[in-house]
């Protein structure tokens, strides 16, 4: 049964140096507050997993938390490069970053296999690309038809972290809108953390929503606004101006370090982070 804890305690009790940690949320419901807490705890040597490492992974990589990245698309959506990710790959700053690179379909199949406790996922993909020789993928023959298909190893994170709109007081979680690979992340992980916009007395069923029962989740933590600058459908919109501003903030090492110190290391929670954002005249 999910335990409901404060976010700092939740991250502190679940994450350890050197672990495989996945933070998911496909553009929507990205667990930024939990990512910031990982930075505040100064974890090191993490293998970070995420289909679309964007701003939150740029921050984690630039803050020196990651040793390895397993991913399929690393950019600032609609804007361009992730400068901290690029600096790590191109110049090993602040430390070298090992890459295990996949396609989206490969990552999705690997998460689904992890959630099903199967050893690998199967897809038609990777064939004929240069990625085949650079990543963990194998060609296998279908035992029934003889067709050659690709196998990718299941993703089984030590800790899987997602953000959702609501939990009830027992820790059942409901999320809606674009639900990405969030359910698979929770079910594939040995231990899981779900941060939520609000905790309600009881969940009101919504069309198209996913409900993840409390007994399948390790910890639930309240983090209103915890997806910023991404969005929480029904709560707040995507802060597109922030993604634009991040391009400038992250381009320069010193400016990045100063921003992280002011907005993450010197604050203790989402509320403090928000106050610094507003106090700074917006985002910078």
């Amino acid at each position: 049964m999910a335990e409901i804890m404060a976010l700092a305690d939740a991250v502190g009790s679940l994450v350890e140096d050197g672990q495989v940690v996945a933070l998911e949320g496909f553009t929507h419901l990205i667990p930024h507050a939990a990512g910031h807490e990982i930075v505040r705890h100064r974890y090191r040597d993490l293998t970070l997993v995420r289909m679309t490492p964007d701003v939150i992974y740029d921050q984690l990589i630039g803050a020196g938390c990651a040793r390895k990245l397993i991913f399929s698309w690393g950019g600032n959506p609609g804007i361009g490069s992730l400068h901290r990710f690029r600096d790590a790959v191109e110049h090993a700053w602040p430390s070298p970053l090992e890459l295990e690179e996949h396609s989206h379909a490969g990552m999705a199949a690997a998460y689904a296999a992890g959630a099903a406790n199967l050893p690998f996922g199967v897809l038609r993909g990777y064939r004929g690309t240069d990625l085949e020789a650079r990543t963990r993928v194998a060609s296998i023959e279908c035992p029934f038809t003889g067709e050659q298909v690709s196998a990718v190893p299941a993703i089984r994170p030590d800790v899987g972290i997602i953000h959702a709109q609501q939990a009830d007081e027992r820790g059942n979680v409901q999320l809606w809108g674009i639900t990405g690979v969030q359910k698979e992340t929770v079910l594939a992980a040995r231990r899981s953390l779900v941060t939520v916009e609000e905790i309600v007395a009881s969940l009101e069923p919504r069309p198209g929503a996913q409900v993840i029962p409390a007994w399948a989740i390790t910890v639930v933590a309240l983090a209103p606004g915890g997806a910023h600058p991404s969005y929480a459908h029904g709560y707040y919109d995507r802060d597109n101006a922030f993604y634009v501003a991040w391009d400038e903030i992250s381009r320069d090492r010193e400016r990045f370090v100063a921003w992280m110190k002011r907005h993450v290391l010197e604050t203790t929670d989402v509320e403090g982070y928000r106050r610094r954002l507003v106090g700074g005249g917006g985002v910078a």
């Binding site: 991913f71 399929s72 959506p77 609609g78 993909g125 990405g180 597109n240």
Partner: protein, 256 residues
Amino acid sequence: MSDPGYSADEMMAVAAARRLRDGMACFVGIGAPSRAANLARATHAPGCVLIYESGTIGAKPRHLPLSIGDGELAETADSVVSVPEIFAYWLQSGRIDVGFLGAAQIDRFANLNSTVIGEYDRPLVRLPGCGGAPEIAASCKQTFVMLRQSLRSFVERLDFRSTVGFGDGSRSRERLGFSGAGVTAVVTDLGVLEPDPQTCELTLTMVHPGVAVDRVRSATGWAIRVSESLSTGAAPSPHELAALRALEIPGERGAQ
């Protein structure tokens, strides 16, 4: 040359949009492909089904989304499914008519690079990576590619083959077991390239108004073949231009 009243990027979006037919199911990448697909839906193909890899099927945004997961895509979609489902049930099953991609580099067989410039282990520029592109190009019934034409982007040899168009030429796709027809059109800011029916090599089949063939040649990193029936496309109509410009959100996002 006098100002034609539209930009090369607008011409590219209009030329790409014209290739979509009403009712087609279209798997759309963000950026230029999304712009063109939404223009088609706003003009001659209102029944075009836009599918984004975030799992939104039949999205009907009024303005161009900044990312593939914007809230408006989910709010206006016929159905929102998970990411594993969109790739497994909808894409790899071969249900999608057209895949619509961009890239950093393309070669003569329409293979795409969106991974690195330079060596993989010591890249000069680390690009975002392939995302959904390899399986989109493998499984859609046909694929359109959009990118600006230059010596940097149209290269003799890719630095990295992220996505297979026609591999090493004819019959490569069959050998790899791909179901779709592959890249059937590459729309650029200068014209349109289509694969030769026999060799699969990209051939210039159309230039945009005011574009000379020599200009295309000098923006291509290999000796590009030119179709005997090369045509000149039509300039954007006032209706197309108005619809395209109406898709941009004034202010915040339109400024990008």
